[in-house]
């Protein structure tokens, strides 16, 4: 989902940076508040953030004959909300643009918006929608993480289509073309990512249910029910 350095006109770089910066600032502020409130939240952030580090470094082959990587942002979005997640993503993306030539400093804003903001925001929205329903919590985690992954690539396609509308057909044609590259490749990866993160969540529930209950990620009744099942 990285837009490569130099591949986005500077006007668009500024636009996406302007969107990303306030979100990051809010995320840092939220993070400080969460940590002051409950030191036990720090290990949870370590696990959810750790998976963003791991999954976003795995470039996996897909059915389209090209490679792409999962994002791993959904779990963090569920536990900490989208804004704190964008701070963790920004750290990963900064590392990748400084040392790996994946993305770059000028396009960092655009990449943060796709992977760190829109993806987690969609995942968080799905989670909030399903949270208080009778839907199994692991299914909720699966859907939230898989869709956070998908929408990250959806956003990358959108960002590129806005900057490079096709001569014939304009924005819409470009968008379809970029979606064909990014989104189609991503479907199998998103499904596997969803299942793996649901499994990870099962282990968090088994080992540290109290932190999930205290942070009101899921209600006590839901966690206990899942523990009975798990």
């Amino acid at each position: 989902m990285h837009i490569m350095e130099g591949f986005l006109p500077w006007q668009w770089c500024i636009v996406w940076w302007l969107i990303a910066l306030p979100c990051l600032a809010f995320g840092v502020w939220q993070l400080k508040k969460v940590m002051e409130k409950d030191r036990e939240a720090l290990p949870l952030l370590g696990v959810t953030g750790g998976f963003i580090f791991i999954l976003s470094s795995l470039k996996l082959p897909s059915v389209t004959g090209s490679c792409s990587h999962p994002t791993g942002t959904g779990l963090s979005a569920i536990c900490f909300g989208p804004w704190i997640t964008s701070v963790v993503c920004a750290i990963v993306l900064l590392f990748q643009s400084l040392f790996l030539a994946h993305g770059g400093l000028s396009v960092l804003g655009a990449n943060i918006v796709s992977m760190g903001i829109v993806g987690p925001l969609v995942g968080y929205a799905i989670y909030r929608l399903l949270k208080d329903t009778s839907v199994n919590i692991f299914l909720t985690v699966f859907l939230a993480t898989a869709l956070a992954d998908m929408f990250t690539y959806f956003t990358t396609s959108l960002e590129l289509a806005l900057a490079y509308p096709a001569e014939v057909g304009g924005f819409g044609t470009s968008f379809v073309m970029f979606m064909a590259i990014f989104a189609v490749t991503q479907v199998p990866l998103a499904i596997v990512e969803g299942i793996v993160l649901a499994l990870v969540f099962k282990y968090i529930v088994a080992l540290k249910p109290d932190i999930l209950i205290r942070m009101k990620v899921f209600s006590e009744a839901q966690i206990n029910k899942a523990r009975g099942e798990a």
């Binding site: 696990v47 795995l58 004959g65 590392f95 770059g104 499994l199 540290k208």
Partner: protein, 107 residues
């Protein structure tokens, strides 16, 4: 028994299907290079804007890993960092849980 490990089984099946898909694609699809979708995207940008890929130069100068080996080394480092966090915390929680049940038993 099966119900208890449903997620584990699903995860293994999903990974196996994923590997199967890869083997199938790589053996049947012609021209499957398994390049990064980032690069495929960049090629499309070049096509849409009518410029060559090489004419896109970084707006802000950046370090580029001199070879694929260095790049994969740095990626492995990133994954290792994440792995340390995850493993460390799960171990910490496991210890916490254990000591908690032990204190309960002792009381």
């Amino acid at each position: 028994m099966v119900k208890n490990y449903l997620l584990e089984i699903l995860a293994v099946v999903a990974v196996l299907v994923f590997c199967g898909l890869f083997l199938y694609t790589s053996s049947t699809m012609e021209g499957a290079e398994f390049a990064g979708s980032d690069n495929v995207g960049s090629n499309l940008i070049a096509e849409l804007s009518g410029k060559s890929v090489d004419s896109f130069t970084p707006l802000i100068p950046q370090y580029e890993p001199p070879s694929g080996e260095i790049e994969s080394c740095l990626f492995a480092l990133q994954a290792a960092l994440g792995g340390i966090f995850v493993g460390g915390v799960f171990g910490f929680w496991l210890g916490q849980k254990k000591s908690l049940t032990e204190t309960k038993v002792n009381q």
